[in-house]
C-alpha cells in the first residue's frame, strides 16, 4: 500500500514539477541542446564566426545592479565572442528556493550569481558546482580564499573586499577621547569604560535581529581556530569534534555577553534592530558596533562627514579581521549546458581591461595581481593596509558551516534573553548541528 502510494505521489509530484517548470524550461532546453552539440563539435575557437550561443545567467532581482551584468559588459562580451548572456532574474525572496528546484530537476542555468557561504549551505556546493581550480585566471588571484570552499576555487569575483567583519567604530569619538584601537579584550573593556564615562553608548547591539549577535563569535571562533587548530572545522564537519569541545568558544561568547552585562551597550538590545544602526552612528549616540563594513558604506551614503573605521574583534591578542565570503560570486553548475561558454564568460570578466573597469567603477579592492586597485575610501584603504595586505584576515565561521545557521543565531539571542549561558548555547548548537548534519546525510553524524 505504502509503496503504491509512494509511486502515485512521486508520479504526481513529477507531473506538477514538469508543469510548473515547463514554462521556463522547455523553450530554453531545446535551444540549449542544439547549442550544446554545437559547442561540443566545433566551437572551441568561440570566435564571432561561430554560431550564436545564448547562455543563461540566473541572478537575484536584488543583485541586478551587480557589475558583472552591466549591459555594456554583456554587450562587449557578445561582440567579441558571439555568445549572448541572457539574464534570468529571480525574485529576491525566493532565489534560494528557485535555484534549489532548478538544481534538483536538472534545469540548470549556465551561470549563477550567489554568495559563497550560502551556496555551501543552500545549494550543495560540492555536488552541484564546477571546481574552477584550473581556470586560467586562478593563477592571477591575490586572495584565493574568498572564492574557495573545501580547498577548491568554486566561484569567481574580481574583488576581494566583500564583507569584512569586525568592530565598526567612530574615529572622531576615538580621537576626541584619545583612544587607541584595542588589541585585546582587556583593552577593549577599558575603551568601553572611557566611552561610557563620556556619556556615549560604547557599543550598539541590535540583537532583535539575531544574526547580528553572530558577528563577534563568527570572527572570534575562526580567528582562534586558524591560529590554534587549523583542522578544527574540518573535524567538526566530520563529526569528530563538537563546538562545545573548544573551551575558548564559550569564553568568546561570555565576552560578548559581558560587554552587555557591564552596561556598555544600549539597554534594550533585544528590541533594537539593525535598521536603527545607521541613525545611531549619524547621531553619535554610539561609538562602536560589531558589524561588517557594509554598515560604514550605509552611514557614508547618509553623511560622508561621519568618519567610521573597522578593527578586528578583540577576542584575543592581536586578532585577525573577519572576512565573510559574502557578496555575489559567480558559479558554474556542473550540469551547465554551455560549460565552455560559461567559463569563457568568466575568462572575459577576468581579463585585465574588464576587471580594471569593474574595480574602478565599484571602488573595490582588486583580486587580480595585474589589476590596480583604484583610490579607495579612507576606511577601505585602512582595511587594505592594516589587514588585507599583511594577510591578517580570516574567513569567518560562516564559510565552514554547511547547514542552516538560523538556530545558532536564535541560541545566541537566547543568551541575552537569559535562557542559556555560553556553554548552554554551544551544547544546544551541538545537538541541533548534528541533527541538521544527519538530515543532510553527512557521514559521521
Amino acid at each position: 500500500m505504502s509503496k503504491r502510494m509512494k509511486k502515485i505521489a512521486t508520479g504526481l509530484l513529477a507531473g506538477i514539477m514538469t508543469l510548473t517548470l515547463a514554462a521556463c524550461g522547455s523553450d530554453n532546453s531545446g535551444k540549449g541542446n542544439a547549442a550544446a552539440t554545437d559547442s561540443g563539435s566545433g566551437n572551441s575557437g568561440g570566435s564571432s564566426t561561430g554560431k550564436k550561443v545564448t547562455i543563461e545567467l540566473a541572478i537575484s532581482k536584488s543583485s541586478q545592479d551587480s557589475a558583472f551584468v552591466a549591459q555594456d559588459v554583456l554587450d562587449e562580451f557578445e561582440q567579441k565572442t558571439n555568445i549572448k548572456v541572457n539574464l534570468q532574474l529571480l525574485p529576491a525572496e525566493q532565489t534560494a528556493t528557485v535555484l534549489q528546484t532548478k538544481l534538483a530537476v536538472d534545469e540548470v542555468p549556465d551561470l549563477i550569481q550567489y554568495n559563497l557561504a550560502s551556496a555551501t549551505t543552500d545549494l550543495n556546493l560540492e555536488r552541484n558546482f564546477e571546481i574552477l581550480d584550473n581556470e586560467p585566471w586562478v593563477s592571477r588571484l591575490l586572495n584565493k580564499d574568498v572564492l574557495s570552499a573545501y580547498d577548491h576555487v568554486y566561484s569567481f569575483h574580481y574583488s576581494q573586499d566583500t564583507g569584512m567583519q569586525g568592530v565598526v567604530y567612530n574615529k572622531d569619538i576615538f580621537k576626541d577621547l584619545g583612544l587607541e584601537i584595542p588589541k585585546n579584550y582587556e583593552e577593549f573593556l577599558a575603551v568601553c569604560e572611557k566611552i561610557k564615562a563620556s556619556g556615549i553608548t560604547p557599543v550598539f547591539m541590535p540583537f532583535k535581529d539575531n544574526w547580528a549577535a553572530n558577528i563577534w563569535p563568527a570572527a572570534a571562533f575562526a580567528d582562534w581556530a586558524a591560529k590554534n587548530e587549523p583542522s578544527l572545522f574540518e573535524d567538526i564537519n566530520a563529526g569528530r569534534k563538537k563546538w562545545s569541545d573548544v573551551p575558548e568558544f564559550a569564553t568568546f561568547l561570555d565576552q560578548q555577553y559581558e560587554v552587555y552585562k557591564k552596561g556598555y551597550t544600549n539597554t534594550d538590545i533585544l528590541s533594537d534592530s539593525y535598521d536603527m544602526a545607521v541613525g545611531k552612528f549619524l547621531n553619535k549616540e554610539t561609538a562602536m558596533m560589531f558589524m561588517g563594513d557594509w554598515l560604514i558604506v550605509n552611514v557614508a551614503e547618509k553623511d560622508p562627514n561621519v568618519h567610521l573605521g573597522l578593527f578586528a574583534i578583540p577576542s584575543s591578542e592581536d586578532a585577525n579581521l573577519g572576512a565573510s565570503p559574502l557578496g555575489g560570486q559567480l558559479f558554474i553548475p556542473k550540469k551547465a549546458k554551455h560549460m565552455d561558454e560559461a567559463k569563457k564568460f568568466l575568462e572575459f570578466l577576468a581579463t585585465k581591461e574588464v576587471a580594471q573597469k569593474m574595480v574602478d567603477s565599484q571602488g573595490s579592492v582588486s583580486n587580480f595581481s595585474d589589476v590596480t586597485t583604484p583610490k579607495l575610501p579612507d576606511y577601505k584603504q585602512e582595511i587594505v593596509d592594516q589587514y588585507i595586505t599583511p594577510k591578517k584576515t580570516t574567513l569567518t565561521t560562516d564559510a565552514y558551516m554547511i547547514v542552516d545557521r538560523s538556530e545558532l543565531y536564535r541560541l545566541l539571542q537566547d543568551e541575552f534573553a537569559g535562557g542559556l549561558d555560553a556553554k548552554g548555547v554551544l551544547k544546544a548548537w551541538d545537538e541541533k548541528f548534528s541533527q541538521l548534519m544527519k538530515d543532510k546525510g553527512v557521514e559521521g553524524f
Binding site: 538560523s406 541560541l411 541538521l436 538530515d439
Partner: protein, 290 residues
C-alpha cells in the same frame, strides 16, 4: 425518469469536485505522504521513514515549547476575543448616540494589516516604550515589563495584541446575532420581573449560541494556526521563546527539512480537526431555535 434526474444533479457536482480534489484533496494527501519521508532537496532520493518525523516532533524541546505556546495562545485569544466581543456587542447594541462611531472604532483594528500592527506595537512594547511609560506615570512602575523580550511573557503579549486587533471582528458577528433576537422576549421577561442579568443569561446567551459557535470556531482555529502575529512581532524569539507551531513549520522549511515541516503541518491539521469537530458538534447540540 427519477433515476436519471437524480444522476443529473450529481453531474453538476463534478466540476466543483474536480477543482476541489486537484487543489485541496490532492495536495493534502501528498502532504500526508511527505510527512512520512525524509524529503530534502539536497538529497538524491526521498526515503520513506515511517513515524520518524513524528517521533522527532515529540522529542524536540523547541517543538514541544511551540505546541505549549500555541495552546496558550489559542486559549487566551479564544477567551479574550469572545468575552470582550460579547461585552462590546451588548454595550453597543444599546441605545447610544455614538454607537455607530464606536462600532467603527472598535472594528477598525481588524481591517489593519498585521504588519501595521507590528509597526505600531513594537515601539510601544519596548522597555522604554509607551506602555511602560504610562505605568510609570500613573505610579505603577512595578508593572513595567520587557513585554516582547522577556521569554516568560512574550507569548502572552502577542496574544494580547491579537485580542486587541480581532475583538472588533468578533464583536461584529455578535452584534449581528444580537440584532436577530426579537425584542419581544426581553419585554416579556421584563413583565415577568427579570433583571438585566437574568435576561442576559436566559435570553441573550441561548439565542446568541449560533453566533457564539461561529466565533468560538473561528477564534479557536485561528488561534491554533497562529503565525503572522508571532512572525512579525517576535519572529519566534527571543531565542525560541515565542515559537508556535506555525513558525516551527517555517523554521523546518528554512532548514531544508521539508519532510519534517510537512509532518508538523500534518500534525497541526490533525490537531485542529480533533479539537474543532467535537467542539462544533457539542455546541450545535446546545443551540436552540427561536
Amino acid at each position: 425518469m427519477k433515476v436519471s434526474k437524480r444522476l443529473y444533479s450529481y453531474y453538476l457536482i463534478w466540476p466543483a469536485l474536480l477543482i476541489y480534489s486537484v487543489f485541496f484533496v490532492l495536495p493534502a494527501l501528498t502532504g500526508l505522504f511527505y510527512s512520512f519521508t525524509d524529503w530534502r532537496l539536497d538529497r538524491e532520493a526521498i526515503k520513506f521513514i515511517g513515524w520518524d518525523n513524528f517521533e522527532r516532533i515529540f522529542t524536540d524541546r523547541t517543538l514541544l515549547l511551540a505546541m505549549k505556546n500555541t495552546a496558550i495562545f489559542a486559549i487566551v485569544t479564544v477567551l479574550g476575543k469572545n468575552l470582550l466581543g460579547i461585552a462590546l456587542a451588548v454595550g453597543l447594541n444599546m441605545k447610544l448616540k455614538s454607537k455607530n462611531l464606536l462600532r467603527a472604532i472598535f472594528y477598525s483594528p481588524s481591517i489593519l494589516s498585521v504588519l501595521v500592527i507590528s509597526i505600531v506595537f513594537t515601539p510601544m512594547l519596548r522597555s522604554d516604550g509607551t506602555i511602560n511609560r504610562i505605568f510609570e506615570a500613573v505610579g505603577l512602575p512595578s508593572l513595567s515589563q520587557a513585554w516582547l523580550t522577556n521569554p516568560a511573557l512574550v507569548i502572552w503579549t502577542v496574544a494580547f495584541v491579537s485580542i486587541w486587533q480581532h475583538t472588533g471582528f468578533q464583536m461584529a458577528i455578535y452584534l449581528a446575532g444580537l440584532q436577530s433576537i426579537s425584542k419581544e422576549y426581553y419585554e416579556a421577561a421584563t413583565i415577568d420581573g427579570a433583571g438585566s442579568w437574568r435576561s442576559f443569561r436566559s435570553i441573550t446567551i441561548p439565542l446568541l449560541l449560533p453566533a457564539i459557535n461561529i466565533n468560538l470556531m473561528l477564534t479557536l482555529i485561528g488561534g491554533l494556526k497562529v503565525f503572522s502575529e508571532v512572525f512579525v512581532l517576535t519572529g519566534g524569539g527571543p531565542g525560541n521563546a515565542s515559537q508556535v507551531v506555525g513558525t516551527i513549520i517555517l523554521r523546518s522549511f528554512g532548514e531544508g527539512s521539508w519532510g519534517l515541516g510537512t509532518a508538523v503541518n500534518t500534525l497541526l491539521f490533525a490537531a485542529v480537526t480533533v479539537i474543532a469537530i467535537p467542539l462544533l458538534i457539542f455546541m450545535r447540540r446546545k443551540e436552540v431555535s427561536e
